[in-house]
């Protein structure tokens, strides 16, 4: 028989492990998060298999540009899509309602959700880069790794916050995947994740610059680009991502609901939780 509150770090750790267990026991989620982005890497390398010759250097493959871009995409979807869809479903299934009837502070639950998603995003990133290195001869520039890691840290945090906002904005668990795809995929196309659009219209360029994904992709690409000579710290991009992250967090603090939206009381509950989180 045990007495006394479990310490906050232990509770956070348990919640991270719990969310992590759920992820690995849902093969569909694991597939779309980890394997699906890799398929793009394989595909692009099949499509563009000519080595790139740069004067006075070893030949490169197209992976040098795509692996970091797809790593950013994978990390964004591991946080944004997984959190948004996962929590919208958990709310629909009234799992969140049960959590709210326990003394677990709401922020600790959310820390578990976010912590686990970030951990999985890191796995997805490392997987992408490793496949790049071992299968496609991706070069890593050690002096630019700190910048890559910082970009990754800011990126996954911002997209995790946007994931919470996605859960808050999705009316039901069924609609959440549609909302996730309808936002992330088009933005990916104008954010240089797939085929860089040559000579984009000004408004497309503007849109790409407006949304956060491009500011995740470009600094990571720079960290792996053979043409870049500085340390690849891109403060401006990080600020844009951070701003989106803060916006997403503010939105979810205000509007995140712990009960299905058709249930009465959800509206008042939402407010209260926002204040308590």
């Amino acid at each position: 028989m045990s007495e006394g509150r479990t310490s906050t770090p232990t509770l956070v750790w348990r919640q991270i492990r719990y969310q992590n267990t759920l992820f690995w026991r849902t093969p569909v989620a694991a597939f779309f998060t980890l394997i699906f982005p890799l398929m793009f890497l394989v595909l692009f390398n099949l499509l563009f298999d000519d080595p790139i010759e740069i004067q006075g250097r070893d030949p490169l493959t197209i992976a040098q540009f795509y692996a970091p871009a797809l790593a950013a995409f994978a990390a964004a979807s591991a946080t944004y899509t997984n959190i948004g869809v996962g929590q919208a479903i958990a709310r629909d299934e009234q799992i969140l309602k049960r959590i709210r009837s326990t003394p677990l502070p709401p922020w600790i639950y959310m820390a578990g959700v976010v912590g686990s998603a970030i951990w999985i995003a890191l796995i997805a990133t490392v997987l992408m880069i490793s496949v790049g290195v071992f299968a496609y001869g991706l070069n890593i520039y050690v002096d630019r790794l700190p910048a890559a890691i910082l970009t990754l840290a800011v990126g996954v945090t911002a997209f995790a916050a946007l994931g919470l906002a996605l859960a808050a904005i999705s009316p039901t668990g069924d609609t959440a995947p549609a909302v996730a795809n309808a936002t992330l995929l088009p933005i990916a196309f104008i954010s240089d994740v797939f085929i860089p659009i040559s000579d984009p219209a000004a408004w497309l360029e503007f849109l790409g610059d407006f949304f956060p994904l491009k500011h995740f992709v470009v600094p990571l690409q720079d960290a792996f680009s053979p043409f870049v000579t500085d340390a690849a710290f891109r403060g401006g991009d990080l600020v844009v991502m951070a701003a989106w992250g803060v916006g997403g967090l503010a939105y979810s603090l205000r509007f995140f609901s712990w009960e299905p939206k058709t249930e009465g009381g959800a509206r008042t509950r939402r407010k209260k939780t926002g204040a308590a989180t």
């Binding site: 719990y18 267990t21 759920l22 049960r98 009837s101 326990t102 003394p103 677990l104 509950r269």
Partner: protein, 299 residues
């Protein structure tokens, strides 16, 4: 000191007035059952007490706190089994109990809880493989894992087989003997009769009766139901109150069964009539309930 006090509580969902002004007090250590037909407002009331729903007006105090603003300490002292709530189907029973146990400062031992709800065999099975009744037992396990002082059970045994229901009654009896205050809702009158120290019947957002299961609704302790059948062709001229009834089956609730029975049996003896299946019974909780909620046979 009462564990729960409610006064003038109302709750509206838009135009629907689910609770229309109720007053109630549940004492510490008491097992209190809330009865009432579907849509009477039981879940609404219970979830207001748990802090899940906001109230429209009225005063509510639960363990000395207002549940609408109470925080972590409050939730550490209560246990909640919702009428419907989900759980992660990919976790096993033991993993779920462990996860929820860690949230509470006072914890019942995991294995003990699993045993109490009768899921030892399923302890390592994923929740998605459990039957509906087995899942409901997990709900119960998660509700009591934190050694609550006050336990809310919203239709806890719906979907249980008879043996599981008996077991959960034993469990509730045991919790009562440990001093746990319990507020439960149920549609099973035998459950209320067996478990509750006091019951209240809700109908259409109001409390229409309140008392112990035995005295509820009875105008006097002597009230009884007298029933019998007459064989076809039996003579007429029955004494009151049967004289006004068409027969051949008679059933009537009377305030003074001794006098009524005396009159009835003397009549039968004099006429040489047999009163088939003559019974005298106290109205059961179910009789009273049906009468109160207007679903009864007294149309």
């Amino acid at each position: 000191m009462p564990a729960i006090t409610i006064s003038g509580l109302t709750k509206s969902y838009g135009d629907v007035q689910a609770v229309r002004g109720i007053d109630l007090a549940v004492d510490e250590g008491e097992v209190f059952a809330l009865l009432g037909p579907n849509g009477a407002g039981k879940t609404t009331t219970v979830e207001i007490l748990e802090g899940h729903r906001s109230r429209t007006s009225g005063e509510v105090s639960v363990l000395g706190e207002d549940p609408a603003s109470a925080g972590r300490e409050f939730r550490e002292r209560i246990g909640v089994v919702l009428q419907s709530s989900g759980m992660d189907k990919e976790l096993t029973v033991r993993e779920s109990v462990e996860l929820y146990a860690a949230m509470f400062p006072r914890r019942n031992p995991i294995e003990r809880i699993i045993e109490i709800v009768g899921l030892e065999e399923k302890a390592d099975a994923r929740i998605k493989t459990l039957s509906g009744g087995q899942r409901r037992r997990v709900d119960l396990a998660l509700g009591i894992v934190g050694k609550p002082e006050l336990l809310f059970l919203d239709e806890p045994t719906t979907g249980f087989d008879p043996s599981a229901r008996r077991k959960s009654w034993d469990l509730i009896d045991r919790l009562r003997s440990l001093g746990t205050t319990i507020l439960l809702t149920t549609h099973y009158m035998d459950e209320a009769q067996h478990l509750a120290d006091r019951v209240a019947v809700m109908s259409d957002g109001l409390i229409v009766a309140e008392g112990t299961p035995d005295t509820l609704g009875s105008r006097s302790d002597d009230e009884a139901i007298v029933s019998f059948r007459l064989a076809p062709g039996a003579p007429t001229g029955l004494p009151a109150p049967f004289s006004a009834m068409p027969g051949p089956s008679f059933e009537v609730s009377v305030e003074d069964p001794t006098r009524v029975l005396y009159a009835l049996t003397s009549w039968a003896t004099t006429k040489g009539v047999s009163l088939e299946g003559l019974t005298v019974s106290k109205p059961t909780l179910e009789d009273v309930y049906l009468e109160l909620t207007g679903d009864g046979r007294n149309e």
